[in-house]
């Protein structure tokens, strides 16, 4: 205690007498001494009040009175995985069309009404001040319940999407992602199917009307309201504006279509002539999120690749300077749908083979050869648990977190479970999860980059067979 007081006193003297550099007087401050943090203030995930209207619409409300603002989000469980084959993009076009005019107001009129309250009310929701929330909810309900689906607006929306897709198809990172999912799940699987300019062009007004009628239904939807509100008045308002929305159509359910069988690890290389970097995807199928070792796998991911400072990051960026950054995480879906464990990075083209070798070494090492140290595990725990108050600081962050939980079929107490389970994990739990789920023998590795720079060294590295593919992932002989 007294030593501590002496340091403070000296610092004060130094500060007061700091006319020129007089470092000698200040040597009592020993910078080698690392401060010891007092215990953290407890973080409690905010209370979620839930209610289900008679038509099946689920409502979640979180009170947060720090500022006079409110975030509203619509979580719809029927998504692009419901797109009929050949009409990929239908779900997202239907959602975009909600803001293109209603039975009451033209698209221009709607836009002017949003402008008057400084609140762009998107089909997926909005964040605004309490003074505007009532008006914004009226507009949101009008859009969801009474869309006009004008033909002229549909043509414009489709033209813009097609142009954007054509542009994306010329960008290596986008092409790499598309090839990766196609090869992992098979070209007919709903997790793969992605819109193209051709599929967008086939979507008619009838398709949009039918999709809206079938899927845009209250029993497929959760409304999340976070901010300076009282649950009772939110409920009254939502009942007024969404209560008459009729249940019906199709109730969305998880997909159970068979996925492509696992294949031995293969590198699929697609040529992007002249690209200065190669985009690399590495991944495999993972378990559904109801897996008993869900938190162990999440922690293994955190340690391996999910955050800056993970093993992959330290190796590929800090040790070798191959890349500006790299992340690898699990993409979780609704159980029993499988997850995807995947990572990606952009590497300096001539280093592509080395980056793949290092990646696979790090992945294998997770299975026991280099078990996590206690410090690594503590970092991975804190990165998930200690970070919660930072991840959930704003009303937008809390609302977005609840959307993700809702779409994943998770109860809102997820973060409390995470905070209880993760600190109890041991290093052997992490190794066990890595052995079970990180499978170096059944990886899909996709590389999109300058073939003539990459291919010879990649073949010489001899880590896996190399197959040259077109932009759809089909082998080119």
């Amino acid at each position: 205690m007294s030593a501590r007081r002496a340091v403070l006193a000296c610092a004060a003297i130094c500060a007061a007498s700091m006319i020129g550099p007089r470092a000698a007087e200040c040597q009592v401050l020993d910078r080698r001494h690392r401060p010891v943090a007092p215990p953290a203030r407890a973080f409690v995930f905010p209370k979620v009040t839930e209610h289900v209207l008679a038509n099946g619409l689920r409502i979640q409300v979180v009170e947060n009175h720090e500022l006079p603002i409110v975030a509203v989000r619509m979580a719809m469980s029927a998504d692009s995985t419901e797109d009929p084959a050949g009409k990929e993009g239908l779900a997202s076009v239907t959602l975009a069309m909600l803001r293109e005019g209603t039975a009451r107001a033209s698209a221009d009129q709607l836009a002017r009404e949003m402008a008057a309250i400084g609140t762009p009310v998107a089909p997926a929701g909005f964040t605004t001040t309490t003074s505007h929330v009532d008006r914004a909810l009226d507009l949101l309900a009008d859009m969801w319940l009474h869309p006009a689906f004008a033909d002229s607006a549909l043509k414009r929306v489709e033209a813009l999407r097609a142009a954007a897709l054509r542009q994306q198809q010329a960008v290596p990172s986008y092409v790499a992602r598309a090839i990766f999912y196609r090869l992992l799940y098979g070209s007919e699987h709903p997790f793969f199917r992605a819109p193209t300019d051709t599929s967008i062009a086939t979507i008619s007004r009838d398709d949009v009307v039918r999709f809206h009628d079938q899927y845009v239904r209250p029993q497929n939807t959760t409304i999340i309201v976070v901010g300076d509100v009282r649950p009772a008045s939110v409920l009254a308002k939502l009942t007024r504006v969404f209560g008459a929305w009729p249940r019906g159509g199709v109730t969305a359910a998880p997909h159970t279509e068979p996925v492509a069988p696992r294949q031995a690890t293969t590198i699929f290389l697609h040529d992007a002539p002249g690209a200065s970097q190669a985009t690399v995807f590495v991944g495999e199928m993972g378990p559904p999120r109801t897996a008993p070792d869900f938190f162990a796998l999440e922690t293994a991911n955190t340690l391996f690749g999910a955050i800056p400072g993970s093993r992959l990051w330290q190796a590929l960026r800090e040790r070798h300077g191959f890349t500006y950054g790299v992340l690898s995480t699990s993409l979780w879906r609704r159980s029993p749908e499988p997850s995807t464990i995947r990572g990606s990075t952009n590497v300096n083209s001539p280093k592509t083979d080395s980056a793949v070798v290092v990646w696979l070494d790090e992945l294998k090492a997770m299975r026991g050869e280099r078990a996590p140290t206690d410090e690594e595990l503590e970092r991975a725990r804190m990165a998930q648990v200690g970070s919660l108050p930072i991840q959930l600081e704003t009303v937008d962050q809390i609302a977005t977190a609840l959307v993700r939980l809702s779409l994943a079929g998770e109860a809102p107490d997820f973060y409390s479970r995470l905070a209880a389970r993760v600190p109890a994990l041991t290093t052997s739990d992490i190794t066990a999860a890595a052995r079970k789920y990180f499978d170096p023998d059944h990886l899909v590795i996709v590389i999109v980059g300058d073939r003539k720079t990459i291919e010879p060294a990649l073949r010489a590295a001899n880590v896996a067979p190399v197959v040259i593919v077109d932009a759809s992932g089909r082998p080119i002989s």
């Binding site: 006319i19 603002i69 309250i117 010329a170 970097q277 952009n346 108050p389």
Partner: protein
């Protein structure tokens, strides 16, 4: 601390802006200000504190008044490379350990370099305040004890990869470099891009790192801003303890900014093999943070470029359906500003026609100004947007430091909100006539080999496409 009810400024404005300006300003100020205290340590370090216990977290920003405009030709891109060296460890923190320590306490961290400043920040659980102050002060006090050639070379590679990803990896990614190089003559330090000329990175030496650190990374050139869950008296004590003994440093040199303006139209073309449709960008020199015109210029940019209801969006995306996206923004730096309009054409649309339509919109604003109704959504956006910004400790610490560093006023962002709410249609018309003149850049961006899609191809233009060797645009 903060008022819990929102006074409906919006309703007043909708009712015709009847409230006396002074009264309106006072109310807006009460709602939009970030309360702060300012202390200056004897070594010149400025400390700004915003106490907010709503979340058990704290944001620490350390803001240095040095950016790419402090560089010299031949050594461009150095301020950003140096930013990377700051995470290479200091006397008591091993190379790479900064990130591990922060992530290992559940925090986030990053750093950002622009033309005017370099900012380092951490957002951490509030019990870790002393640790992050210790870390940030360790690198301000002792960075040079760790710097070595191997780490400089690794960071140089990381920075090259950053550029490959952010600039080379984006369609027309060099457009910003070309814009800076065109808008500012070569003797103006805003001429070169933050990433610099690629070849210049190779020239950076350890001596440059040492010299740069000793010149700019000193307390008298730094601001520490804290926002979040802490006791202000305790925070002041801790900052004095860790930063108070660092020598103030010598007077910091400031670059001279030449006043040269563009006097004529410069027409350029840029090709990209990955592009599937042409884009056009038109840019004018405007004013910096030191000019009161910035409020009216921001409103002018919004009148033109507001999403969906702005004049350009309405005309080009919806009524004429020639474009897929449009942007108009006024970028204000410490000493200079640029207003630019960018329109992404539909693949089949003509840039020539789009340029004519953009010019007709600009001419209309210059001749008639916007209507009073045109300004209502912009005031609403400003009021709502500012309130949303106040949710985040990170945003608040940033705006306090940025305001204090660039204008001397930590409350600069609240002042800007007030300024924008006070702009009249006549103000917008005036700045449109003052700044949107014939001296400007018109950059046509076209798919490679499609120079026939350049806007007004009959007028002379220069093809600014960089060579494959990564030459200077």
């Amino acid at each position: 601390m903060r008022p819990t009810r929102f006074f409906p400024v919006a309703a007043l404005l909708l009712a015709g802006g009847m409230a006396p300006a002074a009264l309106r300003a006072q109310r807006v100020d009460a709602e939009h200000a970030v309360p702060y205290t300012r202390t200056v340590l004897p070594n010149g370090l400025t400390l700004l504190l915003n106490e907010d216990h709503s979340s058990p977290i704290v944001a620490l920003h350390v803001w240095y008044h040095v950016g790419s405009k402090n560089e010299v030709p031949g050594k461009t891109g150095f301020a950003h490379l140096f930013e990377h060296m700051m995470s290479e460890g200091s006397e008591n923190v091993a190379p790479g350990e900064y990130r591990l320590l922060i992530r290992g306490m559940g925090g986030t961290m990053n750093a950002e370099t622009n033309e005017d400043r370099t900012e380092y920040y951490e957002v951490v659980p509030s019990n870790q305040l002393e640790t992050v102050l210790w870390m940030e002060s360790d690198r301000m006090a002792t960075l040079l004890s760790r710097v070595d050639q191997k780490r400089l070379d690794t960071e140089r590679e990381i920075v090259r990869n950053e550029r490959r990803q952010v600039i080379d990896g984006a369609v027309f990614g060099v457009a910003n470099d070309i814009t800076s190089a065109t808008m500012f003559p070569s003797d103006n330090p805003y001429h070169w891009a933050i990433y610099g000329v690629p070849a210049d990175l190779a020239a950076a030496t350890l001596d440059d790192v040492r010299q740069f650190f000793r010149t700019y990374y000193v307390p008298r050139n730094a601001i520490v801003a804290l926002s979040g869950d802490f006791n202000p008296a305790q925070a002041r004590k801790l900052v004095a303890k860790y930063f108070g003994s660092i020598p103030a440093g010598a007077a910091v040199p400031r670059p001279t900014i030449s006043e040269t303006r563009l006097t004529k139209e410069t027409r350029l073309a840029l090709e990209d093999a990955r592009a599937r449709a042409p884009w056009i960008r038109i840019a004018w020199r405007t004013a910096g943070d030191d000019s009161r015109d910035q409020y009216a210029l921001s409103v002018l940019a919004a009148v033109l470029g507001r999403a969906r209801t702005g004049k350009l969006s309405k005309l080009l995306l919806y009524d004429r359906q020639l474009a897929t996206a449009d942007t108009a923004a006024n970028f204000d730096w410490e000493k200079v500003g640029v207003l630019f309009i960018e329109v992404r054409a539909r693949p089949e649309a003509s840039l020539t026609e789009i340029e004519r339509l953009v010019d007709s919109v600009v001419t209309d604003v210059k001749q008639h100004g916007p209507s009073a109704a045109d300004l209502v959504p912009i005031r609403q956006d400003t009021a709502v947007g500012r309130l949303l910004q106040l949710q985040s400790d990170h945003e608040k610490a940033h705006t306090l430091a940025e305001g204090a560093g660039l204008t001397g006023n930590p409350g600069f962002y609240a002042q800007r909100v007030r300024g924008i709410l006070g702009v009249t249609p006549a103000d917008v018309q005036r700045v449109a006539n003052t700044y949107l003149g014939s001296g400007r850049m018109v950059l046509s961006m076209v798919p490679a080999g499609k120079l026939n899609q350049v806007s007004k191809p009959e007028l002379p233009y220069v093809n600014a496409t960089p060579t494959a060797a990564g030459g200077k645009p």
